[in-house]
């Protein structure tokens, strides 16, 4: 008896969970509850079902290069803010800010989006200490380089050269910050 329980229970539970009763129950339950919160919660499992059900690749999965584009814009802003806060560093930092902006432009073209006109603000204003500012930029740039290296490995043949150049550019920025 205990053995049969072990064998049959998971199967039965699996079926009820996957098929008719559970979704029906929860939907009815949620409709009865009626609140905004409940509707919000209902949306998630339904979206999940659609993803599993439809073989359509079309439902807009975010472009794999999108994070790289966002990062380029954030980096551009970080360098520009640092250059504004430390005019002595501007000659060094401005070309790098421009490079990141150029990367964003090329990535946007490749992805097929228009680059956002308002750049995302990097977390926190630049430090008043130039050394700390440079250290912060180095840290961001290193993370950016690593992300671009990873993105290049999985990029398509036509995208890999641009992503590779961006990875290399970020590596040269680190060198320029030394």
């Amino acid at each position: 008896m205990p053995l049969r329980m072990v064998l049959t229970c998971p199967v039965a539970r699996g079926r009820t969970a996957q098929r008719i009763p559970a979704p029906g129950h929860s939907r009815r339950g949620l409709l009865r509850a009626g609140g905004l919160l409940a509707l919000g919660a209902a949306a998630a499992p339904l979206a999940g079902c659609d993803l599993l059900g439809g073989d359509d690749e079309a439902p807009k999965a975010p472009d794999p290069l999108r994070p790289l584009l966002d990062e380029a814009l954030t980096l551009a802003t970080a360098y520009q803010d640092a250059a504004t806060a430390h005019p002595d560093l501007a000659a060094r930092l401005t070309p790098i800010a421009e490079a990141h902006r150029a990367h964003a432009g090329e990535l946007a073209r490749l992805i097929g989006v228009t680059p956002p006109s308002s750049t995302p603000a990097p977390s926190g204003a630049p430090s008043t200490d130039p050394d700390a500012t440079l250290a912060d930029l180095r840290q961001r740039e290193r993370a950016g380089r690593d992300a671009a290296v990873a993105a290049c490995a999985s990029a398509s043949a036509e995208r890999a050269p641009l992503v590779g150049s961006i990875a290399a550019a970020r590596a040269t920025h680190l060198e320029a910050l030394k």
Partner: protein, 149 residues
């Protein structure tokens, strides 16, 4: 359609990179002669990096049964090397040009071969930046290293 036509076969791209490595090694001969001190050491290290990749490519291509392009006795330099300034200018050029060949190889490769190509692109781009700094070129970076201009 265009995707099939655009990237060359991996062996073809690696053979092109090998030819670029031969030329780079050749160029560092006259470059090194015009440099001294830390710059000369940097030239020696750069040359060693190109030799390492040359050796790896020769081995890789012959192991794969691909055609290994032969080295030539000499390569045409884009401009005469007459002093330290022209030597540094050529060093920048050599690194950018070899970087460009490895960048092109990215499209033709996947997996470890692509990692190898990216590693070379990054290495030579950083060396080009260091040479610009030594030469007093400002800015020391370019927006798209290895991209044909």
């Amino acid at each position: 359609m265009s995707e099939r036509a655009a990237p060359p076969a991996p062996a073809e791209a690696l053979a092109a990179a090998l030819t670029a490595e031969y030329a780079a090694i050749y160029a560092y001969g006259p470059i090194g002669v015009r440099l001294s001190g830390a710059a000369r050491t940097a030239a020696r290290q750069a040359e060693a990096a190109h030799r390492r990749r040359r050796d790896a490519l020769v081995l890789q291509l012959s192991t794969a049964g691909a055609t290994v392009p032969p080295d030539r006795a000499g390569y045409a330099l884009p401009f005469p090397i007459t002093d330290r300034a022209s030597a540094l200018r050529l060093a920048v050029e050599v690194e950018e040009r070899t970087a460009a060949h490895w960048r092109a190889a990215l499209a033709a490769t996947t997996g470890p071969d692509r990692d190898q190509a990216l590693d070379a692109l990054i290495d030579y781009s950083v060396r080009a930046t260091r040479w610009r700094r030594t030469a007093g070129v400002d800015p020391v970076t370019v927006p798209f290293p290895g991209r044909p201009t």
